[in-house]
Symmetry: C2
Subunit: 330 residues, 2 copies
DNA sequence: CGCCGTTTCTACTACGTATTACTAAGACGT
DNA sequence: ACGTCTTAGTAATACGTAGTAGAAACGGCG
């Protein structure tokens, strides 16, 4: 039960020889349809997957490719760099698997990856539905950024959105009282954490909140939200959940005649390559994505080995003050 | 000679048993220093690397991890998505390997990857020095974007920078005569291709070129170049090698009082997420990075199988007209 | 000189698969 | 009925490693 089934097990179950099973799986001719289906049914029943290591030993082919990425990656997010480096140091190799966008297919694919016997651990950097009870037998460690995120939030280390609080307090120090939040989609824990931090800070400091708008990562949509605001609103401080939303908001504000930052201050998140050159340059939060990736991988490896969780990283995020923030026009 | 050496070969060469070789490589105690060094010397002489498939078959551990990426990637560049999907369809698995930035270490690491016997093919999306004569014995296929790039250029399909010509001709049609090119680093074939296309077009259409400046991918540097231009230059059309350079240029132009696009038209390349929201929004070239990644992978797989090169992709790039381009102020 | 303990090495086996060589069973023409 | 050809399946083997059990060499001690 606890062991991974082999082609011998399938053969025994189906009442044929191991060779026959192998022929079925390699698609060789000379197998009757009846036998083939019998074998496939047995394989299904036992949850059999060919062992790729054994196969590649026999065929003398690895079936593996590498994509090498030089360190200053193609805006891969240094996330992968950090993760891959850490995995390598721990003696692991990292494979890339991509998934479809459709929710149902995605769940199925994740399940396939987890039950493929090919991986000792699986890491996801984006919110993914927790896989259905991975068939108890030796399931690989699974770590999704969503849990990760929430846990970090709980421990106050990462997506706890503390920089957002820091930015709001600074804006209040400059004289701002009226705020607007442009939020990201609610299935992104980071987006939720930022929204919650915004609401909590409004509450704690007794500020005026014009509302929470947005709900996706579209800069166009963010711009539309700004266009719908009443004319007499400024001075206003807009806290956007990332730089794309901030950029869309700035553009819409300028287009309706509000000057940034004199009438409207705006903050973003992510420090995209163009944020520095924007007009005005965007105040944002830069994340040390490489260290974040490394940390996520350390956690996964610890989970595999049954070690306790490693020390959480701190100072992974930093506010970068730029031109899009100023005291409100008096 | 043509075969990959095994621990048996090393044992024979060193005059010990295979077990001893295995013990040396797994670091087990109970091996005298003399024997250990003898084994290591033999292994070095034969270029031996443990066969990971055999090892993982024996140990029942794969040593492999996966990073799953959902389709609308984290601005991974859809490049990887396309490549991974294509590889999977061809029956391959894709591993991520990262390299250091230092040129010498990098060359050594690439060499290690190529001679590790672990990969049937290796793909690089960035310019990487062609590896030293990969020890003739069954070297894996290697495809670097640099060659790729240059070849595509030769066949007129990809980095042939044709969109750049299209943009310049359009600008001429609007009435522009005076041009400036902000180039990328000369070790990026794409950057070179764009510069060459610029120069050729200036020549062909008898335009006035203020010069070719730049030389790296820094937006700040691009801005400095624009700041050094003479005051009475506009009207001017700036052709930047990518959007970051374009953004830096726009920012510097606006800061010195030139309005964009009335005084200065600017074009970029890449269609970054913020380019659409920029003030003014940046005319750029969008690349179908997913198809590009898929094509690169098809080529790699074809090289492995000894097939001829697949049909080159066309229409991978498209000019996106935006606000940063207009007729020159009269 | 024989006994024991330690160190150092070797012979052998199992891991799970693909594939070659072979056998059994029909199908068919004469 | 007999030999031949085709089809469907099986037995046996090799791939390269790690590790178990055991052998050989060696030194110390009585």
């Amino acid at each position: 039960m606890g062991k991974r089934p082999t082609s011998h097990d399938v053969a025994r179950h189906a009442g044929v020889s191991q060779s026959t099973v192998s022929f079925v799986f390699t698609g060789r001719a000379g197998i009757s349809t009846a036998t083939r289906e019998k074998v496939l049914r047995s394989a299904e029943a036992l949850n059999y997957r060919p062992n790729l290591a054994a196969r590649s030993m026999r065929t003398q082919r690895t079936g593996r490719l590498a994509i090498v990425i030089p360190f200053p990656g193609l805006s891969l997010g240094s996330l992968l760099e950090g993760a891959v480096t850490t995995a390598r140091e721990a003696g692991y190799t990292v494979e890339l698997v991509n998934l479809s966008q459709d929710a149902e297919a995605l769940a199925q694919e994740v399940d396939a990856v987890l039950s493929s016997f090919e991986y000792e651990g699986v890491l996801s950097f984006s919110p993914i539905p927790t896989p259905r009870s991975s068939s108890a037998a030796s399931a690989p460690a699974f770590l999704a950024l969503s849990e990760f995120d929430e846990e970090m939030h709980a421990t106050g280390a990462f997506s706890d959105a503390h920089p957002l609080v820091e930015m709001m307090e600074h804006l209040v120090g400059l004289g701002h009282r009226r705020f607007l939040h442009i939020a990201g989609p609610s299935d992104y824990p980071a987006a939720v954490a930022r929204r919650d931090a915004y609401l909590a800070t409004v509450d704690r400091l007794g500020l005026e909140s014009v509302g929470v708008v947005g709900g996706n990562w579209s800069g166009i949509h963010a711009g539309n939200c700004v266009r719908e605001l009443p004319d007499d609103l400024p001075p206003l401080a807009i806290i956007a959940a990332n730089d794309v939303l901030a950029a869309g908001a700035i553009r819409a504000a300028v287009q309706r005649g509000w000057s940034v930052p004199e009438d409207v201050s705006v903050t973003g998140w992510d420090d995209l390559p163009l944020s520095l050159h924007f007009l005005p340059s965007i105040t944002t939060v830069s994340q040390d994505r490489q260290r974040l990736g490394a940390y996520a991988m350390r956690r996964l490896v610890a989970a595999i080995r049954g070690d306790g969780a490693p020390e959480p990283e701190t100072h992974l995020q930093q506010v970068i003050w730029r031109e899009s923030v100023a005291p409100p026009r008096t």
